[in-house]
């Protein structure tokens, strides 16, 4: 079993920390993982990209080959489009937030971006901000996306919740609860309209 995930977004959206949660859950399930990220200038509001490879055996390359990703979790629609060609033609799934981060002057027409994403096979777009707000913390939008993606990943939801709780424990019970609630809202959003 190999399962390759691309996580992408804009610096400051918490994409890298989410990748750590998924990686820990996968390891707790007995998988080997490889995780790759490019930082440095990325934290200055540029693109953030993490590759996460989950497998029964040690993955070879730290980066996922083009056209081989099983799943993209994107925290921002333009970044989803930027990395969509990474998806496997046969079965790759795209999970993306709807809200744009417009920190560039030439951000394309949002409706065109979303229409392009909706034209891709197996796309799952969700208003992560709104669901996170309902869950009690708008900063938990990334966990909404992980919750939605949890219906696709080879990791039990309970395990992901466990690692989410462990990851946010340091920040107090309220933050843990909001993130778990956000995860569940995302999971519920996976069915049935997608």
């Amino acid at each position: 079993m190999n399962y390759d995930i691309i996580l992408c977004g804009v610096g400051g959206q918490g994409g890298i920390s989410v990748s750590v949660v998924i990686a820990k859950a996968a390891m707790a399930e007995g998988f080997r993982v490889k995780q790759s990220e490019i930082h440095g200038m990325a934290q200055r509001g540029g693109e953030v990209l993490a590759h996460l490879r989950i497998s029964d055996s040690e993955p070879a390359s730290p980066s996922i080959p083009l056209g081989a990703a099983d799943l993209i979790i994107s925290f921002e629609p333009l970044e989803a489009l930027r990395h969509a060609h990474w998806l496997s033609v046969d079965g790759g799934r795209l999970v993306s937030a709807l809200s744009p981060v417009k920190n560039i002057a030439n951000y394309p027409d949002l409706e065109t971006v979303l229409a392009t994403l909706r034209g891709l096979p197996r796309n799952f777009l969700v208003d992560a901000d709104a669901l996170a707000r309902e869950a009690g913390n708008v900063r938990a939008a990334n966990m909404v996306l992980v919750g939605l993606a949890s219906t696709m990943m080879p990791i039990p939801a309970a395990r992901l919740e466990e690692e989410t709780a462990a990851f946010f424990a340091r920040k107090g019970q309220a933050v843990v609860d909001a993130n778990i609630a956000a995860f569940r809202k995302g999971r519920a959003a996976a069915s049935p309209s997608a």
């Binding site: 804009v10 610096g11 990686a23 390891m27 080997r32 993982v33 490889k34 995780q35 790759s36 990220e37 490019i38 930082h39 440095g40 200038m41 990325a42 934290q43 200055r44 509001g45 540029g46 693109e47 590759h51 040690e58 070879a60 390359s61 730290p62 980066s63 996922i64 080959p65 083009l66 056209g67 081989a68 333009l78 970044e79 489009l81 930027r82 969509a84 060609h85 998806l87 033609v89 790759g92 920190n103 560039i104 002057a105 030439n106 951000y107 394309p108 065109t112 971006v113 392009t116 034209g119 891709l120 096979p121």
Partner: protein, 572 residues
């Protein structure tokens, strides 16, 4: 030469170790403990478990996390599978620049302790003087030089290959392919350094530095006791001794080569295709190996190289078995060029030089796939909209933006001027909407270039540099400007941190800048300290204008704390 330690490849190997690269065959039995580590962390932990005493560095992506690992373990007073006594005794310090870091590590080795110095590739240029000369002295405590290259320039101004610089210094260079090798080979590098009494280079690239994998840990060993280098003058490089030491170094080359030959692995296959995989390129080859074997009908013959000098004997062995050779290496075509030489190779050789792979940029599983002759994977049709780039930019509320606004307005009355800048977050002033700087070349260059431009007739000639970069290597240029009364305006953006690499403390507190500037002879009337904030904009424009008009060197310190640094210290 006295070598009480065996070279790593002669040490006994367990069956488990036999499955690992030969250069790490001497690793002690695994403890059963595992840890998920980034390449940088694997090197740091490998060094700690090898009995490290001293670590020195200057921040630079992608090497920064090596020192950050040491410091976070020290702060927590524990590291994975490490006795607390080793942790307590460890010295882990940021330095002014890579040269000072290297020299401190050298002193620790002189005193008999194991030392590591880490830097990004261009940092080795700064440390080139101690680096090249230290090859000639008789290293005492193990000295390991970790250099993280950045092919693809994710966060750098060039993509030089450290293997070439190691060759230039006539030093052995280890190149791990993955996190496990990074961990194991760091210990092997300390052993090799002590056995052969030379510094050993470990070369990694961004992708290895910043990717994580599960690593099996070995038992930690104790640091060396204090033990001053023998009084045989082998650390005194005056010409008569240096000539002797140079011969000693040249005499060691055979042993370095023998090690690299032994560390290289030749895996015979039935195909006439031979593939050489250096360092991380092996991972990209493995990624495609199943498809390649299916297409060829047989496995290729693979030579894995993880140590230098280039193991020429093993390459000849490979050439005798195959009809053509593809060389996979991230960085320069270092091995490929040597194989092609002047007179050509006995079998066709392909790689980055031949055009089978691009001569620039980072290697990837996809580029390797194409070079191996495999068809590209089918890609999803994603429409005609090409997403515009999202370049990095100043954080919301960053003081640099306010500094540039004031500087640009103060420069408005002048028809021509130059603004030479430097390496750091403030280089982003090159991008719209600021378009505020004319140059960014190397650490500290802003001050020297402004001085040269002023000498050539440019007025105003402005240098813009951060506080950390000023301490790194801007200061000597200012001394030049003061000594010659050069008409420059130096703007020091003092945010109290090294921001670009994720906010590390500046080597000296901001309060020391002003007395330092006085001390090197800047006229106190022309040292101006301003608050870098938009609410002070008009006053700042006026004062900067006064100093631009001043004939002679003047320094403006724009002060406000980095926002990232403030967050980091608040959360700590």
């Amino acid at each position: 030469m006295s070598t009480t330690l065996q070279s790593p490849r002669n040490m006994s190997s367990t069956s488990e170790a036999a499955a690992r690269p030969a250069s790490s065959a001497g690793r002690p039995a695994a403890t059963g403990a595992t840890e998920t580590l980034m390449g940088d962390e694997a090197i740091a932990l490998g060094a700690l478990h090898a009995g490290l005493s001293s670590a020195y560095a200057y921040p630079g992506t992608p090497s920064t996390e090596i020192m950050e690992s040491f410091q976070s373990w020290k702060a927590a007073r524990e590291a994975p599978a490490c006795p607390s006594a080793t942790m307590e005794a460890l010295l882990a310090e940021w330095c002014s620049n890579e040269k000072t870091a290297y020299e401190s590590a050298l002193g620790a080795s002189f005193a008999g302790r194991r030392a590591i110095v880490s830097m990004k590739h261009v940092g080795l240029n700064v440390a080139a003087d101690p680096f090249v000369n230290s090859a000639l002295i008789r290293i005492n405590g193990g000295l390991v030089v970790v250099v993280a290259d950045d092919p693809g320039m994710h966060s750098s101004q060039d993509e030089q290959d450290t293997r070439v610089l190691a060759d230039f210094a006539r030093l052995p260079c280890f190149e791990p392919a993955n996190q496990q090798e990074a961990y194991d080979m760091t210990r092997a590098a300390f052993d090799f350094s002590e056995a052969h009494e030379v510094p050993v280079v470990i070369r990694i690239t961004t992708r290895l530095a910043h990717s994580r994998s599960i690593v099996d840990l070995s038992a930690a060993r104790a640091p060396n006791p204090l033990h001053k280098a023998e009084a045989d003058k082998s650390w005194i490089l005056m010409p008569a001794i240096a000539r002797r030491r140079w011969k000693v170094l040249l005499g060691k080359q055979a042993a370095f080569l023998e090690h690299a030959e032994g560390a290289a692995r030749l895996e015979a296959g039935g195909s006439k295709l031979g593939v050489i995989a250096c360092g991380i390129a092996r991972q990209y080859l493995l990624e495609n190996l199943e498809d390649l074997t299916a297409q060829l009908g047989e496995r290729p013959t693979i030579l894995t190289i993880n140590s230098y000098p280039v193991p020429v004997g093993r390459i000849r062995e490979l050439a005798a078995r195959v009809g053509r050779i593809l060389v996979l290496e991230d960085g320069f075509p270092h091995v490929e060029d040597m194989m092609r030489g002047v007179f050509g190779a006995p079998v066709p050789v392909e790689g980055r030089r031949s055009g089978a792979l691009p001569l620039d940029g980072e290697l990837s599983p996809d580029l390797v796939r194409t070079a191996l002759g495999l068809p590209a994977r089918k890609l999803l049709e994603t429409g005609s909209l090409v997403p515009p780039e999202r370049p990095p930019q100043f954080c919301q509320g960053c003081p640099h933006g306010d500094s540039y606004s004031a500087l640009k307005e103060a420069l408005k009355p002048y028809p021509e001027y130059s603004v030479n800048s430097d390496i750091g977050c403030y280089t982003l002033g090159a991008l719209p909407p600021w378009n505020a700087i004319d140059s960014c070349v190397d650490m500290g260059a802003s001050v020297g270039m402004a001085r040269g431009a002023a000498g050539a007739g440019m007025h105003p000639a402005v240098a813009v540099i951060g506080d950390s970069t000023f301490y790194h290597s801007g200061l000597p240029n200012l001394v030049d400007a003061v000594s010659h009364n050069t008409n420059i305006t130096l703007v020091i953006l003092d945010n109290d941190t090294t921001g670009m690499t994720g906010a590390q403390p500046t080597i000296a507190p901001a309060s020391r800048l002003e007395p330092l500037l006085r001390g090197v002879g800047v006229d106190p009337a022309h040292i101006r300290q301003l608050r870098a904030h938009r609410t002070e904009h008009e006053a700042n424009v006026r004062i900067i204008g006064e100093e631009l008009a001043h004939e002679g060197p003047s320094v403006i310190i724009m002060i406000r704390e980095c926002i990232e640094w403030a967050k980091k210290t608040r959360n700590a």
